[in-house]
Symmetry: C2
Subunit: 197 residues, 2 copies
DNA sequence: ACTAAGTTACTGACCAGTAAGTTATCAATA
DNA sequence: TATTGATAACTTACTGGTCAGTAACTTAGT
């Protein structure tokens, strides 16, 4: 209900009703509304961790990254992320430590995986020699913002493709081109020469 | 004051005081609180249009885009954008047409410029042959999300560089690598071969 | 008979919106 | 130049509804 209305607009009595208890019961478990809200977001973040089963796929960095971003996108497009992200953005000023918690427990963990894939790609010469950490962050930013737009397609129609899978392709291609080293043309289907190797 | 507290938490009496009038006066000009809010956001969007003087710079697409994104970044990092964007994201569900207005009047106008620069780059063979519209949108997403993180550096410290100018470089390099055609290595200072040409 | 768990009915603060009253402006007139 | 009257601009003080939080009461479990 917080997700639907936000912290201020969600009425404690409605929350209680939906939980099948009376309002007073809530105060047996939480000191006040804010604490309930905070606890709820923490639960969401934790369920988010469990949901996001981002695993190393086998194969070259290119393939690994594609798999990684496919999984990331499915997470970002889930209703739970959409809700959590919106709440986080709206209430971040009142609950700054929630955002810190989220970044530490979810985003960083996720980014570390991307970073390591990119690092290996750099070592193999498949990706250009740039800071893998920066690359991972840039790609993450791109995905998150596109998820925000996609979650509000009605208003942001001009900013997203109408199909999620097309959008995923667009993002993945963009990111991979940004990371790829100019000499590694092998994964380009229409590459005619062997490049510098 | 809406920017500081949000629609619900901002008290009409305080707004009136800050405006140097009494609460009743507001109701001579606006039917209710929501209308005042909406009008204020519209004003912000309009002032945003005036502020964002994104112009074609001279030179090759690479240089033009660098100049474009420098200007975009300075807009995104301005306090007025930060406020407007946060309000938009928080109240989008209550005021969907505000977001539509914003996308139409600001974002699309801005994107069109980026698209045309990229299109010319594609025609010149400097950028790879991909949909310029998609490229512009991807880059925009990347910039917007980084602006959001940068606006909350305390919480999102791990997601941004501590310096705005470094961040701008990181984003610009990422985007340009994503757009560049593999055969156009000329702008790469350490390029050793002439590529396929 | 004691405690844990829950409910109900209330209070007090808050605040958007309003109705009645006040002041400033200015044109017309003497 | 002063007076009046009309109206526009604004203020004040109040109302009504909402809702977080609580205190007294009830029920279930052992």
């Amino acid at each position: 209900m917080f997700g639907e209305a936000g912290l201020a607009a969600a009425r404690l009595e409605d929350i209680a009703k939906r939980a099948g208890v009376s309002k007073g019961t809530i105060y047996l478990y939480f000191p006040n509304k804010e604490a309930l809200f905070e606890e709820m977001v923490r639960e969401m973040v934790i369920s988010q961790i469990e949901r996001a089963e981002l695993r190393f796929a086998a194969g070259d960095p290119d393939t690994q990254l594609r798999e990684y971003y496919r999984a990331l996108w499915s997470t970002l497009r889930s209703p739970i992320f959409e809700t959590m992200h919106r709440l986080m953005m709206c209430e971040i000023r009142s609950f700054p430590h929630l955002a810190e918690f989220y970044v530490r427990e979810v985003v960083q963990r996720t980014l570390r995986l991307a970073t390591s894939i990119i690092r290996r790609g750099v070592e193999l010469g498949e990706f250009r020699d740039a800071d893998p950490d920066v690359g991972a962050r840039m790609a993450h930013a791109l995905f998150v913002q596109n998820a925000v737009w996609a979650a509000n397609r009605t208003q942001f129609a001009q900013l997203t493709d109408s199909r999620d899978d097309v959008l995923l392709d667009q993002m993945t291609e963009f990111v991979l081109h940004a990371l790829r080293s100019p000499s590694a043309l092998s994964s380009e289907p229409d590459a005619t020469g062997a490049g510098l190797l």
